[in-house]
Symmetry: C2
Subunit: 456 residues, 2 copies
């Protein structure tokens, strides 16, 4: 059987009872992290602009956007959820393929569940299956696919969204094969967009496109039967080398959710060891910016590839500047959303330290390590070696730290008391009779709509 | 200046006065051919299904779909126009890059012009600029991009739609650069989908995605500044080799519209020489199917790559089966839309002849030539060499033949008298005060909506 068909069969047939408890708990953690990011990112100008540009084209406003008062049709709401949840580069990461997996799947599912009655346990199953589908497709083409310049979050995410929504729509195996084909043929997103709003457009559009793929397939819109493995399919066209066995091996036994990580800092994950180390140096020495003569960073080569932007003026660029990460942390000792604004990037103190920084990529340094040396004008050198960066698989954020991260973000859009009840709802999502209860709690009080099915 | 910026500057600044008369006439021919295809394809089940699946998500139904009674928001109408105009594989082709250029641009523009007042001359200028933009982007990456498996109609088409709609929206150069970036990062469509409805989804989605790109850019949604030429941009990621000078060289002087061709047969263009030759053999000898022992085709190697499907059951597959093309023409002597239905593909006479056919690709044979030999049971061999296939640049369809092609298709959706007036409107599109007059004439009478601006 083809990989596409094996995956389609698995996604259509799997039951929640087949999912181990630890995987379900990791799904809850991913959802907590996701909802915090989506609500926290929802006031971002990129979301304002997208709603202003595309809202006039929305259909019946049947779905809420997490964190926002506006309602749109579920396809457009998927797009907006995807933009908001990724725009601060604060969402989750699977280090084995560098995708940010929850945004595409969660954005489509929460939009679907806002417009349709969905039980919590069905939502959780669809989420887990969508996550596994996209992550396995990503594994099959990583690293060649990523290295050439694809933003794998978008290109693999569309498969996850199609699988997840397709599962809730009750697609047959044949329909799921078509949905996967329609996902494959919409797989897009270029790394050239990093540092602009278009980066966050990728998971949003992949959520929306996957949702569209599932809707079309449900009505019988046909696609190629071999969207993933065919000679002109996703893998062959979008990766110089690939391994399709990664899609099917131990499917339903091994779960990539177990290898998901949650960022402590809202920026490109390869910057995290540097930031972690600079926060340590700040807390230990608190060097005033004008005492710093030079900063030297020894990091993994991928940092050079992704985050080599020194001369920057916009907050979004700061997320992909290891120089900014180092300078900011040495000065402020903190890396939250406020440290990646235009204001922070243009802060003259930070700018001066940023311009004093240099870095070198060493193939021997793994991506979760960094060595930092700071030369002071008084002749001293401060140094720090980070062996495991906070948030990676060996030092995961605790459930409690995820709550803190949620609060820090969500208060940008919701009152603190509402944030607490929303956090509680996220942790027990699989117990909810209707996931719309959670979606409703995630929008400003004045915008809460009681679904028709619940009205007296 | 970067290629993206040069293209953006050209598209925003060019004037209709700068476009030579012969190019304008070729634009009219492309539009006549397009509208006929869109109206003729509009009753196809792929369009029915897409409207059934996505219609419930449509916004305010401000736009007509060519040939259909339903109205949708302009973004969804773009998608439907794109599906209908390409679903019979009967639309235009630029042989230098094998894209079908009018469908993405025309589908977005007619939808825009249905929902917004657009003068005919502005429409024509936007069409020509969108066509040139997409065709030049396609030239830059062809053939490597196409050979690896991209459906270049979709991947380049999104640039054309973004440029054309962006021009009508009056984007600044910066906004057009972002629109091009947002197009680049949505460039998708796999040749693996050939033979399914998803193939026609490609130009539709590229029309819709390009339109979205222009709307977002207009409101200030940022994208990478180097969507085409950047190190992780469209060309570098989606083509093993490319030549960016093809985008900018003699821009505004040479026009790819002059190298556009119109298909006489609704199927993969590389089958056309074989079909042309078999029609000749049919007309000359009228061999009954049971007298045919074997059919041998000597064709260009690309035919082998694209059209090597012998064991087929669906009309859509027939379009990419050189065996079907040969068998059908030997039997029926005609290749219209009715020769690519499921019924035709399953006709036992045609099936038997199809199964007797073999073909060989010869690198020495150009793509517009074919040599056909038919062995009869009585020992005779009929043969025909096609040196220039009807419809290619050396033997273009005349304006009159385009009218005939239009009629043959459009009568599937509209009364014959309405078809005649629609043809006349297409030929004088650039003289219209409002292009919506044409769009209105292209839908069933009962569905015609008088725009608010025209109401008494």
């Amino acid at each position: 059987m083809s990989e596409t068909k094996i995956l389609a069969s698995y996604v259509t047939a799997s039951r929640l009872e087949d999912i181990p408890d630890d995987v379900r708990h990791e799904a809850r953690r991913a959802i907590v992290n996701y909802v915090g990011c989506a609500v926290g990112g929802s006031p971002h100008p990129a979301v304002d602009i997208a709603i202003r540009a595309l809202g006039p084209y929305s259909g019946t406003p049947a779905a809420s956007i997490l964190g926002r008062a506006e309602r749109l049709d579920p396809l457009h709401a998927s797009l907006m959820n995807g933009i908001s949840s990724h725009v601060y580069d604060y969402d989750d990461t699977t280090p084995k393929n560098y995708s940010h997996p929850t945004s595409p799947v969660g954005s489509a599912l929460f939009s679907y569940a806002s417009a349709n009655p969905v039980r919590g346990r069905d939502f959780m199953l669809a989420f887990i299956l969508g996550f596994e589908a996209e992550s396995r497709v990503a594994n099959a083409v990583y690293p060649a696919h990523y290295d050439v310049g694809w933003h794998i979050t978008g290109t693999s995410g569309v498969f996850g969204a199609a699988a997840a929504v397709g599962r809730l729509l009750g697609l047959s195996v044949q329909e799921m094969v078509w949905a996967i084909g329609l996902a494959a043929t919409q797989a897009a997103g270029l790394r050239e967009m990093f540092g602009s709003m278009a980066k966050a457009f990728h998971p949003g559009r992949s959520a929306q496109n996957g949702y569209v793929a599932a809707l079309l397939a449900k009505e019988g819109f046909t696609a190629g039967e071999h969207g993933i493995e065919g000679p002109r399919g996703f893998a062959a066209v979008q990766a110089a080398t690939y391994d399709l066995s990664k899609i099917t091996t131990r499917l339903g036994v091994d779960f990539d959710l177990r290898e998901n990580t949650y960022k402590p800092f809202p920026c490109g994950i390869v910057n995290h060891p540097t930031i972690d180390g600079c926060i340590h140096l700040h807390d230990e020495h608190r060097p005033p910016p004008d005492t710093i003569r030079a900063v030297r960073l020894r990091v993994a080569p991928l940092v050079m590839d992704l985050c080599n932007q020194q001369n920057i003026t916009r907050g979004l660029q700061g997320k992909f500047s290891v120089y900014h990460g180092a300078a900011n942390e040495l000065d402020r000792g903190k890396a939250g959303i406020q440290e990646y604004t235009d204001e922070a990037v243009n802060d003259p103190h930070i700018k001066r330290v940023r311009e004093s920084a240099s870095f070198f990529g060493y193939p021997a340094i793994p991506e979760d390590q960094a060595r930092i040396e700071v030369d002071l004008h008084d002749g001293r050198t401060l140094s720090k070696f980070v062996e495991q960066s906070l948030g990676n698989l060996a030092r995961p954020l605790s459930d409690r730290q995820l709550d803190d991260k949620f609060r820090d973000q969500a208060v940008l859009a919701l009152p603190a008391a509402d944030v607490e009840s929303l956090i509680r709802l996220c942790w027990r999502i699989d117990e909810l009779d209707e996931v719309n209860e959670l979606v409703t709690a995630a929008v400003p009080a004045a915008a809460r709509v009681i679904p028709a099915s619940r009205r007296a």
